[in-house]
Structures are given as structure tokens and as C-alpha cells.
């Protein structure tokens, strides 16, 4: 038995194409709805363990935070955030560059400032190594 393509194509009726199209649209919709977990929405800045700023990642902003060593500057752009400058000696948090995933953290330990990105729901409560 040989199955020609036109034999199969005869199985499609106009409405069927509509239903399949609708099904694919539903797939895209579900993917957009349920696979957004890793997208960061907020930047949370802490100093000395206390939250001092919570910035939306929708629009550019910057915030200056004072710590024991001096001023740390955090910069926010749509969808990402970074520690722009820090008085700490080793500059680790600055060298980390832009953070864009929910849960990402940059810690400026000497100045007791941290920057953390948050999604709509947190992916985990704590991490330990």
C-alpha cells in the first residue's frame, strides 16, 4: 500500500486548518504564560541587610546606597540591572556586570550592599554551598 501525499491532504477540511492553527496559537500562548518564570521583574537593593530600594525593571533608573565604606551606585535598565560603582577594594560586584535572570545576585560585601533580581515568584527560598 502506497500512501500518496494527496491522499492525506484530502483529510484536511477548511475548518481543520483553523482548529490546528488555533491549537498552535494555544501552544504559543501557554509557552509565553508558563515559561516566564526566569524573567526578572524587580531589582531589590539591600544595605546592611535591610531592603533600601525595590526598582521595577520596566524603565531605566539608578539608586545610590550608603554603606560603611562609602556610596554604591546601582543602575537599572529595562530587563537588567548592575552595580555601576562600589568603593570596595576588589570590585567583584561591579565586575559581575549586568544581571538579567530572576534570582541573580551581586554582593558588595565590604560595603554591605547587595543587588538581587526578583521574578514574579521566587524560584527558591535559600541556597547553600
Amino acid at each position: 500500500m502506497k500512501l500518496a501525499w494527496h491522499e492525506w491532504r484530502a483529510g484536511f477540511r477548511p475548518g481543520d486548518i483553523l482548529v490546528i492553527g488555533g491549537g498552535l496559537a494555544a501552544c504559543v500562548f501557554f509557552a509565553l504564560t508558563f515559561w516566564q518564570g526566569g524573567v526578572a521583574r524587580w531589582a531589590e537593593v539591600r544595605a546592611g541587610g535591610k531592603v533600601v530600594a525595590r526598582l521595577s525593571l520596566d524603565r531605566p533608573a539608578s539608586v545610590d546606597v550608603d554603606g560603611p565604606l562609602g556610596q554604591t551606585r546601582v543602575q537599572v535598565e529595562p530587563g537588567r540591572a548592575r552595580v555601576l560603582s562600589d568603593p570596595g577594594p576588589r570590585q567583584y560586584c561591579v565586575l559581575q556586570g549586568w544581571l538579567s535572570r530572576a534570582g541573580a545576585v551581586a554582593i558588595c560585601a565590604p560595603n554591605e550592599v547587595s543587588l538581587r533580581l526578583l521574578g514574579d515568584s521566587s524560584a527558591y527560598d535559600t541556597l547553600n554551598y
Binding site: W8, A10, D16, G23, W35
Partner: protein, 178 residues
């Protein structure tokens, strides 16, 4: 030996349902041998028979065939009353509900392919529902929804085409419905 006093007359419909159900059970069992990447994503070949019966003999007989398949296939595979059985049962019930509505779509525009895709969506909705309420009571399960939906579109389309092919190539229905 005394003859049994109870008589169970076997109608043509009974024989037909038994035959179709046997075909559906065979397909389900054969399908269980196919290795699958993700639990829950499978072609659902047994549903081809449900679609054929729906188109030829109506919803009532299709429901009989689908439910007999769920029960008998799970018995054969040793899954009866196991979680997989309840997933398949809820999927079958919801997709039968969907088919009850879909069969009234105008025949000129919507064929077995539409029925199949819609029923496949019904099937995975039923499974996700049971899985979320009972097996994995956590929203993490919804992470798999796009995968299931894509599988529903792909396998639904293929099953629908096969059902349509079978319908076009089978002899016209001979027995009057009774």
C-alpha cells in the same frame, strides 16, 4: 446440565463495540512498547478507533469503545487503579465531553482532524487536572503544559488523518444501527 434461565441477547451493536474496542486495546498495548521522552506524551493511537466509531456510529458507541479501552488496556498493562489509569480515565472522560460538543460542528468544514485535535486538548486537560489535584499538587506541573499542547496538536492531527483515511477506505456501513 440445566440451561441458564437468564438470557443476555447480544445485539449487533454489542458485537461491533467489542470489535472496535479490541482494535483500540491492541493499539494501546502496542503503543506502550514505544519509548517516550516524557511521561504523559504519547500518540494515543487507540483514539483513532474512537474517532472512526464516532464518525460511523455516533457518540454513544464511541464512548463505549473509549471507556472499554481505558479499562481493558490498563488491565492488560498492569496499570489498573494505578495513577496512570486515573490519568487516562480523566483524559478519556474530558475528551469524550469535548467530542460530544465537537460532533455537532458542520461536517462540511470540520472533519476527524478537528475532532482529533480538540479531543487531544481535552485529553491532556483532563490529565493535567488530575495530576495537579492529586499527583503533583504544585504549580510546577504547568511548566509542562506547552509541551503537552504541542504534542496534542501534532498527534491529534496525525491520528485525525489516519482516522479519516480509514473512514474513506472502509466499506460503507452495512448493518443498520440498532
Amino acid at each position: 446440565m440445566t440451561r441458564s434461565t437468564t438470557e443476555l441477547p447480544v445485539t449487533n451493536a454489542d458485537v461491533r463495540i467489542a470489535r472496535y474496542a479490541a482494535a483500540a486495546i491492541a493499539l494501546s498495548v502496542a503503543e506502550a512498547a514505544i519509548p517516550l521522552p516524557l511521561p504523559g506524551v504519547k500518540p494515543g493511537l487507540g483514539n483513532i478507533i474512537t474517532l472512526v466509531v464516532l464518525a460511523r456510529w455516533g457518540w454513544r458507541e464511541a464512548a463505549w469503545v473509549a471507556l472499554l479501552r481505558v479499562f481493558a488496556a490498563s488491565l492488560v498493562l498492569g496499570q489498573f487503579l494505578a495513577p496512570g489509569f486515573f490519568l487516562s480515565l480523566s483524559g478519556a472522560l474530558i475528551s469524550l465531553g469535548v467530542l460530544a460538543l465537537a460532533q455537532h460542528l458542520p461536517k462540511r468544514w470540520f472533519g476527524p482532524v478537528s475532532h482529533s485535535v480538540l479531543a487531544a486538548f481535552g485529553h491532556f486537560s483532563g490529565q493535567i487536572l488530575i495530576a495537579r489535584l492529586w499527583l503533583v499538587p504544585h504549580d510546577g506541573i504547568f511548566y509542562l503544559v506547552p509541551v503537552f499542547a504541542l504534542a496534542a496538536v501534532v498527534f491529534g492531527t496525525v491520528n485525525g488523518l489516519v482516522a479519516d483515511y480509514l473512514l474513506r477506505h472502509s466499506p460503507p456501513r452495512a448493518t443498520p444501527s440498532d
